[in-house]
């Protein structure tokens, strides 16, 4: 007997469109507490599969019979097992999420943010499962990718569908929470891979140094990607202003929070830089710029259209991390009571430096779990 399945793409569409779904997560409680699919429009329930091995009695009365129920686990095996049990018990509305949280973690949802000058377009790729945000700037047959994840096929295929050629891959900084796809994209497409040199002192491959004031054109001089040195999350962190309107802040400034300076073990050294960047460098920019961060951490940060964006001026009024007048208090906020560091952040940094070359399965394991780049 085979159970019905639902893909992570379908779950993502429901999340973005704020449709109803009953989600039964059968992973163990610690895994669920640590990291789960979050949506206000979903009903959530956690019951480990090993509590259901003698049958579904413990949950039978709590599962709706008239709505679609998606069962999810780590990789898709246990959800299928539980879905079969529910099927056998007479439920006909049960769907097992194909590939489980592993697939969820790898799904990217492209959201169009805007039209740019000269028939250009700007897309945000929302990694719903991990909160990573990456971008594609398209203009005049050319494209640039910013902070790409390791699911490089999804960008390359998207560019193909759009009929554009990826010319540049940028990383705003050396990532510690996810494996960068920038270098791979460059390799596969012949694009230039740009990385801030101060973050790249230990990297073991060739790259194009990305420095303050660099101005890179995408598509016959129509769109500028203007680099601004903005250290704090890392020493090399660099922001971009795209088409004079969009400020890509990397892991420095998020919508409801700010970046943490401790992932390379340098919290005390970098906290001053972080403050300087947020309270002086960004302050000097136009309030009308639209902030596009490299992460979001809270489902409240997702807008109704599935995008994550806000005006810089609004963030200066509302983001808690930008309201701390006292320097000492700021230092405390970003160096004390930090959330746990992302899983395997050290190995991820080494992978992004080219010092380690884990296989795909190891890369997946390294990235398992939530993103934790923010403090608020």
């Amino acid at each position: 007997m085979s159970v019905k399945t639902i893909t992570v793409e379908e779950v993502a569409k429901k999340l973005v469109n704020q449709e109803y779904l009953f989600l039964l997560d059968v992973r163990n409680e610690d895994a669920y507490e640590d990291w789960k699919i979050e949506s206000d429009s979903f009903t959530q329930m956690n019951k480990p599969y090993f509590d259901l091995m003698d049958g579904i009695e413990p949950i039978k009365d709590q599962i709706p019979t008239d709505k679609q129920v998606a069962v999810v686990c780590a990789k898709g095996g246990s959800s299928q097992y539980v879905a079969e049990e529910l099927d056998e018990a007479g439920f006909d509305n049960i769907y097992s999420v194909e590939g489980g949280m592993k697939a969820w973690s790898e799904h990217l949802e492209p959201v169009k943010l805007a039209d740019l000058k000269g028939q250009g377009e700007l897309y945000q790729f929302v990694r719903l499962g991990k909160g990573c945000l990456s971008y594609m700037v398209i203009s005049d047959g050319e494209a640039a990718v910013i902070d790409a994840t390791r699911m490089t096929d999804q960008y390359i295929n998207f560019a193909k569908e759009k009929g554009v050629e990826i010319k540049h891959a940028f990383d705003t900084h050396l990532h510690a929470d996810h494996i960068s796809g920038g270098r791979q994209i460059a390799k596969d497409t012949g694009a230039t891979y740009w990385l801030p040199p101060k973050d790249a002192e230990e990297v073991e491959f060739a790259y194009q140094p990305l420095e303050d004031g660099n101005d890179v054109k995408v598509g016959s001089s129509k769109i500028d990607v203007q680099a601004i040195y903005s250290p704090g999350h890392t020493i090399g962190s660099t922001s971009f202003i795209v088409d004079d309107q969009y400020l890509m802040t990397g892991d420095i400034l998020f919508i409801e929070s700010i970046g943490r300076p401790d992932l390379a073990g340098k919290a005390d050294d970098w906290v001053g830089d972080l403050r300087e960047t947020l309270y002086k460098r960004y302050k000097a920019l136009s309030d009308d710029l639209i902030v596009l961060p490299a992460h979001y951490s809270f489902k409240e940060e997702l807008n109704e259209d599935g995008s994550v964006q806000e005006k810089l001026g609004v963030l200066f009024e509302k983001n808690d991390g930008l309201q701390v007048e006292d320097e000492e208090e700021f230092r405390k906020m970003v160096t004390e009571n930090l959330p746990p560091q992302p899983n395997d952040h050290q190995k991820i940094r080494h992978t992004n430096m080219g010092k380690e070359t884990p296989d795909l399965e190891q890369q997946r394991e390294m990235e398992t779990g939530p993103n934790r780049c923010a403090v608020r």
Partner: protein, 189 residues
């Protein structure tokens, strides 16, 4: 480290979730209470699940040893008599009482839990002689010594203390509760 003794071994290598736990559950129902099952698995998710599942069923998750790509999980089947709080051997002390005796000359600490339990955490000075082997290994314990017998909760050590007493050991003390609440120095995998 000497080989950990187990009563049964389950090969769950190459199996994906949920099968390692499904098989473990079936297997543990077949073994005797108090016996130790070794589950060899390759699914990295099996560790957290094994631990959570075992505590649900009252089984004792002893620990996991990594051997290349293989995760070796050690589980001890729940045993009802251990949950009783009654011990009958009169000469008892609590964990603090034992702590004050460690490192004294003429003191021997005997840990009568299974070797797998011992392997994942024991008092550094303790000697491992599982209860089932005690009678045949009496020659390893000096009759002149002050002997402290420890297990997880004080029940197995109660039986061991009685046995030692019968065999002519005159200075035997049962440590209650024992390792379940031990907060002193510990050594193990």
């Amino acid at each position: 480290m000497t080989e950990i003794k187990v009563d049964y071994t389950l090969d769950a290598k190459g199996m994906a979730c949920p099968m390692p736990i499904v098989k473990t559950k079936k297997e543990i129902d077949k073994i005797e209470p108090g016996q130790v099952l070794l589950v060899e698995a390759t699914d990295p998710g099996s560790k957290a699940d094994m631990k959570a599942w075992a505590s649900r069923g009252g089984h004792q998750y002893l620990g996991t040893e990594e051997d290349g790509d293989v995760l070796k999980h050690y589980i001890r089947r729940a045993s009802e008599e251990e949950s009783s709080e009654e011990t009958s051997f009169d000469n008892k002390t609590d964990n603090e009482g034992l702590k004050s005796k460690l490192n004294q000359d003429g003191v021997t600490v005997v840990d009568v839990r299974e070797s797998a339990e011992y392997a994942f955490g024991h008092i550094p000075q303790a000697k491992s002689i599982p209860l089932g082997e005690l009678e045949s290994r009496l020659d390893e314990i000096n009759k002149e010594d002050e002997i402290y017998v420890v297990c997880r909760t004080g029940n197995r050590s109660d039986l061991a203390a009685q046995l030692l007493h019968e065999k002519g050991y005159t200075n035997v003390t049962n440590v209650v509760p024992g390792m379940s609440e031990w907060d002193g120095e510990i050594e193990g995998k």
